[in-house]
Symmetry: C2
Subunit: 375 residues, 2 copies
């Protein structure tokens, strides 16, 4: 089966490496300016240009039987244009809903899934009303751009808000601008993400929930299963994710990042794709998130997601590859073939063991070894 | 790290797919006439020609830091020629010892490892003497050619022996011809293979022993751990394999196929490479035989070989790919990208579960589904 992946980053790389053994072949669509190093050698790369018609694109991608995506920030018209020629999973409308924070919030609301309160900021007066309603400080987020903590501003008070209006927001406001939203700073205790894969016939399988640790907005590590979840919380989260996938008629892996405080939880955001917080599944389950995403997209039976024992994932951020350190103590290395730049995600390490405490200990030790004790 | 693999079959393919995530890049050396489909797209392919000098070969392979092999039947001069330019693992002399049945027997004897008795057949009179000493029927084997039961003849009596002398052996005999050996038909009850990986610093790790089932000389399935081994037998086998690896100064995976009868065991043959009977390690251990072979060859820390529960591998012999069947019930598929021909190994399936009996049940069910009940 020929599969085209929109995007050429590490997620595309790991999808291809998971799909090749199942008899798939791949081509990749590079968005303008995107580096293609992670997928070099794994299939044909086509560069998206504005004048490329869907027919020509379909041909250049090798007439794929399936198209999927490794990122949500992509020109949705591109996927819609391919849909008459081939099966696109997840469907373009599902990605369309998730790629814009206001549409995502509306989807969560429609599915009765709890989420961080917000106000859309179209015009200046919306900002003052948001401060009134949600209280300062406010977190201002771009509705489409931004990942790893980018395109976000923490406005401590009205003075900071005025600076923001003259800075990042300058020239972007107007009736129904749709470019910004404001959220209160939520007092969450931890972030847990849940990934589900839904097959083409509607069957859903979950991975164990993972607890995530960030540094300056960038995911550093995930630990699965997330320790000590309050009783009844996981079934609620699973039911919510199931409602979302069903509502969106979603095929493939959908990731749901949640904040937790006490026995309260709510969604921070969705990612309509395989997700960094599920990378631990690679060397610890019979079918990783990458393999199961492709099985779902192809319409093949889903694989086993069961985690025996515990697993951890440590992101490699801006560090050169060093297999002597990174493969020690039974660790598995996944290197992305990217040029190393400060804080750039260039690979990750997967750890596993029979018990959570042991794996957490290994994770902390490895993190110190790679980043130093003060990281 | 740039690694060159001699051979372009499924073992090279699976080595590359295991090495890419660890930051390796690959090139492949195709022997004359060899199909390169399994490694298509995974790295540069160089075709070996008799006039290719080692320097040019080293250059064309991309100046690899390591060279390894996926087969033992290769021109050993080729590896010896590359050794001054780069590290070759396993070392050419170890492969040289294993690629010829008479040298292999001598190695086993030197390491005090039990093996099937034999007589070298250089001339006609050696055959009659073998019949006298070992008794009819005899199994005649070519000393270099032959795998999957090829290049072997079962000679029931002296009349059959005379036919063989006029047929396959015609023109091949003479003093020290070294082309044939004779073995008695051994009354073994089952075949168990043991794989070990030895690192560059001499550390050795074992995989669980696997029990193999053949059909017409071709491996059909493996089950790990091999059930109900007599007490004390596995430590003996492990100690023997350790002596062999140490004796050969071997780096990488070495496979030892053993016959078992009651509490007796002896070696049928060695394979100086990753081995079909270890494919179950792919989706069931943290570091498969492919990954660990490459870790050893590179000089990196070895990975965890522990099998939790049980695993099985079913070879796909001459059947077209059908993911709906082959991925059902939590199975993992490994397809080789080869043209399907009768009885040709074109892929395999890995199964796993908490208990041996359950996995064996799944294996039998899947085998019936793919090959029919009378296979």
């Amino acid at each position: 089966m020929q599969v085209a992946i929109v995007g050429c980053g590490q997620l595309a790389r790991m999808l291809a490496l998971a799909g090749l053994p199942m008899g798939m072949r791949f081509s990749f669509l590079a968005l303008p300016g995107e580096s293609t190093a992670p997928v070099d050698g794994l299939g044909r790369v086509v560069v998206a240009t504005p004048d490329l018609e869907p027919t020509a694109l379909y041909e250049q991608l090798g007439q794929p039987q399936r198209v999927t995506a490794e990122k949500e920030q992509l020109p949705i018209a591109l996927l819609r244009g391919l849909a008459p020629y081939t099966e696109v999973h997840p469907n373009p409308e599902a990605i369309y809903q998730c790629q814009h924070r206001l549409r995502e919030k509306a989807t969560l609301e429609a599915c009765q899934v709890p989420f961080t309160p917000y106000r859309a900021i179209h015009e200046e007066r919306d900002l003052w009303a948001a401060g009134e309603a949600l209280g300062w400080p406010l977190l201002l987020k771009h509705t489409q751009e931004g990942y790893d903590g980018k395109a976000q501003w923490r406005l401590t008070d009205e003075a900071a808000a005025r600076q923001w209006l003259q800075g990042p927001a300058a020239g972007t406001l107007g009736p129904a601008s749709g470019q910004w939203l404001a959220e209160p700073i939520m007092p969450f205790e931890r972030e847990v993400s849940l990934l589900a894969v839904r097959g083409r016939e509607g069957h859903i399988t979950f991975y164990d929930p993972a607890q995530n640790r960030h540094r300056q907005g960038i995911l550093v590590s995930s630990l699965a299963p997330a320790p000590d979840l309050p009783a009844g919380l996981l079934p609620q989260m699973q039911a919510a994710l199931q409602r979302l996938q069903t509502h969106l008629d979603y095929v493939g892996v959908l990731a749901m990042e949640c904040f937790i405080k006490g026995d309260q939880w709510w969604v921070n955001e969705l990612a309509p794709r395989v997700h960094n917080s599920g990378h631990w599944s690679q060397q610890t389950t019979a079918a990783s998130q990458f393999e199961n995403h492709l099985r779902a997209v192809a319409g093949w039976p889903l694989g086993d997601t069961e985690l025996q024992g515990a697993a951890a994932m440590l992101n490699l951020l801006g560090v050169p590859v060093d297999q002597h350190t990174m493969l020690a103590d039974g660790a598995s290395l996944n290197w992305y073939n990217k040029t190393v730049r400060p804080d750039r995600k260039v690979g990750h390490i997967v750890l596993r063991g029979p018990a959570l405490d042991e794996v957490r200990g290994k994770l902390n030790k490895l993190q110190s070894k790679i980043y130093g004790p003060d990281f």
